[in-house]
Symmetry: C2
Subunit: 302 residues, 2 copies
């Protein structure tokens, strides 16, 4: 029985941070390969202004061209109303709105305070409602802000409540700059699951300080079953200093599968795709299982 749902974010959170533009055709081929591996969802791109993130200027082309597969939802990041309209025009299963839990990161990343983001959420949701497209919201810096430091739990809970009141259907708690620790993760996850038992929560970790998998473990222990992860551990945040790679999909899948927790993902297939990344992006990736092999791997005696 599959107990986890993996949302692959490399095409969005990974590629947006790359120095060079990843050409559209191999990008589409990569997404098409990824959606055969058993992941539950793929965040294919962001309908952001090409001026803000030139790497994702091919968003419409990508979403229109990728193959749709039964059981694999296509989601896209949507930073504003215009982005939502572009996304709807291409046909997606889900849109992922984004806002920061902290004022300073909101202003640096989105040029909006959390309150301004919520006002914009209302406008977007009004435009999307009735389309059948699922509305998820990602809450950045939910575990801490690189400018302001601590983000109180109570603030996160209030923001989630406000999102849900507007019509948000699912929430992703993002540790945008890899500051969360397992005790904090477990505590916040238990809180949100208790307070909002009907809402699908996804956890989004970065491995900036090496705690990515430990945090995923803590979230799972608290009852979380949905995770964002990025092939090869690609990713970062262009407007958050020190925000290195997302938690690596294949390393996350490997850990849980080794623990006997079914992810639904074909790990060897995922590793094969990850092994193609360095050629595509022009540099090594931080993923570790793709280099070391699965823990089951046996070597010949020397």
């Amino acid at each position: 029985m599959t107990t986890l749902q993996i949302n692959e974010v490399a095409p969005r959170d990974g590629f947006q941070s790359e120095e060079r533009f990843i050409p559209t055709e191999p990008k589409i081929a990569l997404i098409d390969a990824l959606t055969t591996t058993g992941i539950a969802r793929i965040e294919a791109t962001s309908f952001v202004s090409p001026k803000a993130i030139p790497n994702l200027r091919d968003a419409a082309e990508v979403v229109s061209a990728i193959q749709r597969r039964e059981g694999v939802d296509v989601t896209v990041l949507v930073p504003n109303l215009k982005g939502a309209e572009r996304a709807l025009a291409c046909g997606v299963d889900e849109i992922n709105l984004v806002m920061s839990a902290s004022n300073a990161h909101g202003r640096a990343n989105l040029r909006m305070t959390p309150e301004e983001s919520l006002t914009q959420f209302a406008a977007i949701i009004q435009a999307v409602r009735g389309s059948g497209v699922f509305i998820n919201a990602s809450l950045s810096t939910a575990f801490g802000c690189p400018f302001e430091g601590q983000v109180p739990e109570a603030r996160v809970l209030t923001l989630i409540e406000q999102q849900l009141a507007l019509g948000v259907e699912g929430v992703t708690l993002c540790d945008t700059t890899g500051v969360a620790n397992p005790a904090q993760v477990e505590a916040l996850c238990r809180q949100v699951l208790e307070r909002f038992p009907d809402v699908p929560f996804t956890l989004h970790f970065h491995n900036t300080r090496g705690m990515g998998l430990a945090n995923a473990l803590a979230a799972w222990q608290a009852g979380i079953t949905r995770f964002d992860a990025s092939l090869g551990g690609l990713g970062g945040c262009p407007f958050a200093p020190g925000a290195t790679g997302n938690v690596c999909t294949e390393d996350l899948v490997h850990m849980f599968e080794q623990m006997g927790v079914a992810t639904g993902v074909n790990l060897p297939a995922l590793l094969d795709i990850s092994a193609t990344l360095p050629e595509l992006i022009g540099h090594e990736t931080p993923g570790q299982v793709v280099k070391a092999g699965s823990a089951d791997r046996c070597y010949a005696l020397p």
Copy 2:
């Protein structure tokens, strides 16, 4: 209250794997700096044959020259009787015997089966007994062998029992090639703590597949409070393919301190020392907090 005990193994497990010899004087200076940070124990070197591991040919000189500090035990790896005699002559607080849980790794790494290792343990313990030196034993491949694959829990428990019967006073369970997963770690740790409640157990993880901190978390959740770790994440195993870095001391300390679990270690001091490693060893280290800074670090707004 300090709840964890950190055993720093970089001077032994880290430096033995480096391509080049780390000169004796800076090595001594590094150890002297490390023992001021609040670590509980330092594994200063290995009294191994200089032919087998030329990097540690200065073992006697290092142990004789380092400063001894109240509250910081000096331990050394001892692969055989001759090594034990050399260690005793230099004056150490602890010797750390080593054997493999698997036949294949034992033969590859030590040229001994586990049974032959136990016979040798008996001879060493006879020579050491009465000296006041604490006798620890490290059990390699306790969570899996790179040649044989799975190592049954029952086998590990039996080997521990045999070690203790010979006079071993403390046991380190080593995930030599980074194959352990958190579920396995928690299960084995609970077993050994229940079965041998008076024995101090230490856990030794490698981060080969990214699970180092997740495994440390799982061990701690099971009741383990003593961890081996290596500054900068240096380390490996010369006779175990794919065995990359030990779990990184500063990343481990950072995670637990962020969780509110006291390690007794001064993290800023440790980070300062870690930052000197690249010049000393001639390459970058895998440690992440030394690059990203503590999770508490706040940046100026852009």
